[in-house]
């Protein structure tokens, strides 16, 4: 009997450890210690989506970011659902909406049955007011992620402008 309980406990512990491991790989949560991670987990919402189910629509008010625990998610845009990206376990999307109220620029669609963790702006704001130190850590990392994205965009723009200079027709 004890063996059964031990195994159930181990399975549960394993699932929790897996969530911890995935969260710690997300740049936004990388600086957090165990206690802070526990606080974050308390405000995350776990959702399950069947294949081809819409996670959010293009044009909806952006409310927060999603972290993929299992499955595959497509980021699509336009009326013909043009695929912009395909994301899998450990990837995250929608982090910009933690900072602004702008409508979603693309839709998210579960390509396969998927499980996500959702981290939302209202809860981030609430967390900042309750635990400013932790809130600062997250905002700092969020700024870093957005900075990295800006650097990468600049790099791409540089490449495009270089290509244009070298061969205006091919660019």
């Amino acid at each position: 009997m004890n063996k059964i309980w031990e195994n159930i406990f181990k399975l549960r512990q394993k699932a929790v450890d897996e969530i911890d491991a995935i969260l710690l790989k997300i740049p936004v949560f990388q600086d957090l210690n165990k206690r802070e991670l526990k606080k974050i987990k308390r405000i995350l919402h776990q959702r399950e989506y069947s294949s081809n189910e819409i996670i959010f629509k293009e044009g909806d008010i952006g409310l927060g970011m999603y972290i993929i625990l299992a499955g595959e998610v497509q980021i699509v845009c336009g009326p013909d659902n043009h695929v912009l990206a395909e994301l899998c376990r450990g990837d995250f999307f929608g982090e910009l909406s933690l900072l602004d109220d702008a409508p979603r620029s693309a839709a998210a669609l579960a390509k396969l049955p998927s499980v996500t963790l959702c981290f939302f702006k209202p809860e981030l704001i609430d967390l900042i007011s309750r635990d400013p130190q932790l809130g600062c850590k997250i905002l700092f990392r969020l700024a870093w992620v957005i900075g990295e994205r800006l650097k990468s965009t600049n790099e791409q723009l540089k490449k495009i402008s270089c290509l244009r200079e070298q061969d205006p027709l091919s660019a």
């Binding site: 405000i43 919402h45 776990q46 959010f56 044009g59 909806d60 008010i61 007011s129």
Partner: protein, 347 residues
Amino acid sequence: MRISGNSTSHLRVVLILISIAGFIAFLTYIPDIVKLVIISILLAYILDPFANFLESRGMSRPTATVLIFIAIVFAVILAYMSVLPLFAAQISGLQAGFSPDRAGFVISRFEDFLMPYLSFLGIKELNLMGRTQGAMAGAGDWVLNHVLDAASLVTSMILIPFIVFFLLKDGREFKRAFVSLVPNRYFEFTLYLFHKLNAQVGNYLRGQLIDATIVGTMAVFGLWVIGVKYFFLIGIFAGLANLIPYFGPIAGAVLALLVSILQTGGLDKVLYVILAFTIIKLLDDAIIQPVVVARSVHMHPLTVLLAVLIGGKLFGILGMLLTVPLVGFLKVVVHESILNYRRYRTA
């Protein structure tokens, strides 16, 4: 037989509506419990910012909740030692009635004035003195029976703190559990709505409470300065009645006027009482409400009247006082839901 998708969704809406109606019908069978839960939710909303503040100082939510409750216990003990004797004395004074000689003189004069105008109705005797004494004693009895009734007081004093404690400590978990039941399609919108409602409803309820406290304190002070008997009881009533727009402030003033007339046996203090309540009303409208009540909920006088009548019918005098804030709360909920749904969908 094949059921189309549209029929299924209509069937679902009908089933949801029937469930809601059934649930409301069930609640009307347990008005006492509903009353306790409503009071607890209102109190939890009011105390939430204090718990958040303590959390921002590094405390855990359970510790913050316990600390708030310790502070409340101290406040209650302090009130018990300082205010309750005064409160009890005034209630027993109210029960015993007024100086019969002077009050009798005023009332008999008023009766003499009225009788010629009422003779065509076949009324020979009004017995206003007896009726007034009876009403005042009845009011005292009501306070004793309903507010200070030992059994209900003990039940409320145990159950309300118990419910408030868990709402305050585990409110976020309750919210998360509720949101987890919402289908994926409405999940983001529900969270968005929760966030918006939380801010609006919290501001409204806290604003109303602060407003009622300030008005009540001013009324107690004003009536004490004028020298009106039972100033403490009338002041508290005026503060609570202020929760009811339009009729509330008048009800407080009328009670104070009645007491002052019966107390002095003349109109000596009437002008001062009217002046005091006018100043309080002006201050409330010009300064307190704009500052304290972040967003006032405008209600039509007919809505207020119906709310007061329904509240009185369902939950007695306490219901009359609580229904208007409750209707205000529901109005904020419905208004914000529709507004944010439109905003959310048209973004």
